[in-house]
């Protein structure tokens, strides 16, 4: 008898094969940032898009693209700056330092980290540091993904390793200046580091978020370089490769960075989104392979537990979610389906009994959603991974901006990343002059 996960994999495999390739994940937006960082609660002015170089498009190189989203600007909705880093490195995620002066942008293929100064001129980021020794410094972790701000430091989730190129990996800590501090490996059955849940541990890693008042850090799991840098059709037909997806999440002591408990969350649980309410001790994640929404919560005894609370979309045609976005009142989640290019609004006001209440087709494929703090503006991008994006006649690469009035998403503008010679639009971060408008006494 097939278990749930293998059945889902089979279903997804068939679906994706029929669509000629789809893929993985992404993060961002103001409600989902580090609590140690000041959110932009007013109008964001710029959207920074970490973009993959694409054969036959522009200079074919990875680049940071800046889009003007100031409503009264003459260049509203236009690309106003690009910074090409040269070459294709599988640009993927980016993150901000706690002072929002630096945007860290990582690459999955060759483990580069590019540190952009977005404070001196938020309209025109410039490269200020390029870290090339992430693998060596970290002791073998590869594929830097989430960059999460801590006071004076960043915590980076790595997604693979340089030994077997699978999913076992680590959290890697750097100073805001880009100096290596420490590596924390995800627990594995043969090295639980004091944590419980050995039967669920796989050592995989993807995203990280924290709940400071509980001193809790939560990580999720994905897959390794050997899968995400391989053609999606090959992976999905390879039974052995399909076994190498994460099925766990790990609860950590935030202060000591020690793992406490491994939870069973099958199907590649990707983005971690803690509720924001001051007594809401729970988080959500989306299992990419099963299209299930999972709730991570503290039970009556204070134990952290995981429970799948909703299957989104048609179970026979999984949405293959790439990202989720929580609203600042903890009432809703936006759910982005890679497979159907559709965003869905999930009512999570009762976190144990969520329900889908709205959906809208955004494009042939979407991966990432990024929302303003008040939820009135939301941006979507298209790319998942270079070897997983659609390459059929429907293939497109874009950033599309929408407004949300509580009832309907209405498109504000769209940027065609192929026509503009940019590449594959992946992950977004917001910027604004107001973050840096005071007189500077000292800066890095």
């Amino acid at each position: 008898m097939q278990n749930v996960l293998s059945k889902a994999r089979t279903t997804i495999g068939a679906l994706i094969l029929s669509l000629v390739g789809h893929g993985a994940p992404v993060v961002a937006d103001e409600t989902c940032q580090s609590p140690y960082m000041t959110p932009i609660k007013g109008q964001e002015e710029f959207v920074y898009v970490w973009t993959l170089g694409m054969d036959g498009v522009g200079d074919e190189s990875d680049k940071l693209v800046t889009i003007d989203v100031r409503p009264d600007s003459e260049t509203y909705g236009k690309v106003i700056s690009t910074y090409s880093v040269g070459g294709q490195h599988e640009a993927h995620h980016s993150g901000l330092s706690d002072d929002r002066r630096t945007l860290w942008a990582g690459t999955l293929d060759d483990s580069q980290l590019y540190l952009f100064d977005i404070a001196t001129d938020p309209a025109k980021p410039r490269l200020k540091k390029h870290i090339t020794d992430f693998v060596e410094a970290s002791g073998g972790a590869t594929g830097p993904h989430t960059v999460f701000a801590l006071p004076g430091r960043v915590l980076i989730t790595a997604t693979s390793n340089n030994r077997d190129h699978g999913g076992r990996s680590a959290l890697v800590e750097y100073t805001n200046d880009g100096d290596y501090v420490a590596t924390y490996w995800i627990p594995t059955p043969d090295n639980m580091q004091g944590a419980t849940g050995k039967e669920f541990a796989d050592g995989y890693n993807y995203d990280v978020r924290v709940l400071p008042r509980k001193n809790i850090m939560l990580t999720s799991s994905w897959t390794g370089w050997s899968n995400y840098m391989r053609d999606s059709n090959e992976v999905l037909q390879d039974a052995e490769a399909m076994k190498r997806w994460g099925n766990s999440m790990t609860i950590w002591n935030l202060h000591t960075r020690q793992p406490l408990k491994v939870l069973q969350v099958p199907g590649a649980p990707l983005e971690v989104r803690w509720a924001l309410g001051e007594d809401h001790n729970y988080a959500f994640t989306h299992a990419s392979l099963t299209s299930k929404l999972w709730l991570i919560y503290q039970d009556d005894k204070g134990e952290w537990q995981a429970k799948d609370v909703l299957t989104v979309g048609d179970p026979e045609n999984p949405t293959f979610p790439g990202s989720i976005v929580i609203t600042n009142d903890d009432r809703y989640l936006w759910w982005q389906g890679i497979a159907d290019g559709t965003t869905r609004l999930i009512d999570v006001s009762d976190p144990f009994h969520p329900k889908e209440i709205y959906k809208k087709k955004i494009g042939a494929q979407i991966n990432m959603g990024s929302s303003s703090w008040d939820g009135s503006r939301i941006y979507f991008t298209s790319s998942a991974l270079s070897k997983w994006d659609r390459d059929d006649e429907q293939a497109e690469q874009f950033l599309r901006a929408y407004t949300w009035d509580g009832k309907e998403l209405k498109q504000s503008f769209s940027v065609d990343f192929v026509a503009e010679g940019l590449g594959r639009a992946h992950q977004m971060r917001f910027g604004a002059h107001s973050l840096y408008s005071d007189v500077q006494t000292a800066q890095r």
């Binding site: 140690y36 400071p212 001193n215 000292a442």
Partner: protein
């Protein structure tokens, strides 16, 4: 007894002192330390209240161990910090970076270097400015040091090995005189615990390289016309520095739990003891 003259009180405008005191009182209230003013030394009763000794071994320390908690610290959970603190020594603190030197002034106006002030102690360094009225800013940082000082009155290891420093990033206003009056640090009420020094710098030119080296971004607020005000925008930061003058932890809002800071100091002490064995 120190020959130091009574602390002057003329440095800060009375209104600002009152506002700052209110902010401090609010913060102390949150932390259960009663009321106090940054312009006046705490009453011994307040220090005793802050130094309440918990039952040894009562706290479960988060990582599968039971051990004595540091003496003199209230280890009860709060709404903001709803967890048990870790057991000192059950975890490690990586070296973040070297703790830079810099030219500073003490409350007597004597020129000193930061490394001279560190003096081979374990140091908690907090950047503040005395006119800060943000209850989640400098008053919070000082209130946390208050609590740790209270703990050190009952914890010999803290008293002997820890040095706390409040360093102003507003040298234009926070002269040595003003810093002397910040909490009346020369008062005998501050005896018997960890030493706590209030420092400033001679100028922004002397201050700037220190802030840069410690990655402490500070911005003077401007008004609607773009003119500088007395207020600063800054991220709450405090630093744990070991005897080798290396930063071992950086605390911001959300980490400013005195139980965590004391656990970290004891973790460094445990590390030293292990190295000696």
């Amino acid at each position: 007894m120190s020959a130091y003259p009574p602390a002057p009180r003329t440095g800060a405008a009375p209104l600002l002192v009152a506002v700052a005191a209110l902010g401090m009182a609010l913060v102390l209230s949150r932390y259960g330390a009663g009321t106090a003013s940054p312009a006046a030394a705490p009453e011994p009763e307040i220090l005793r209240a802050a130094a309440t000794t918990m039952d040894d071994g009562a706290a479960h320390a988060g990582h599968h161990q039971h051990a004595k908690v540091p003496k003199g610290l209230d280890t009860a959970r709060t709404k903001e910090f709803d967890f048990d603190p870790p057991v000192p020594g059950s975890y490690t603190l990586p070296v973040v970076r070297p703790a830079a030197d810099g030219a500073v002034l003490d409350t007597r106006g004597t020129a000193r270097s930061l490394h001279d002030v560190y003096d081979g102690k374990i140091v908690l360094l907090s950047f503040i400015y005395t006119r800060c009225t943000d209850a989640q800013g400098c008053p919070l940082a000082t209130a946390v040091l208050y609590k740790i000082f209270g703990a050190s009155k009952a914890d010999r290891a803290l008293a002997d090995n820890l040095r706390m420093i409040s360093l102003s990033f507003d040298p234009q206003h926070d002269t040595p005189e003003v810093m002397a009056g910040y909490r009346n640090g020369e008062s005998p009420d501050w005896a018997g615990g960890a030493e706590w020094l209030d420092l400033t710098t001679a100028s922004e030119d002397q201050l700037r390289p220190i802030l840069t080296a410690y990655d402490q971004v500070v911005r003077r607020r401007v008004d609607d016309d773009g003119n500088p005000t007395d207020a600063f925008g800054h991220q709450l930061r405090a630093y744990l520095i070991d005897r080798h003058q290396r930063i071992r932890n950086i605390y911001g809002l959300g980490f400013m739990d005195p139980r965590l800071l004391v656990a970290d100091v004891h973790t460094l002490l445990a590390e030293e003891q292990a190295a000696e064995r």
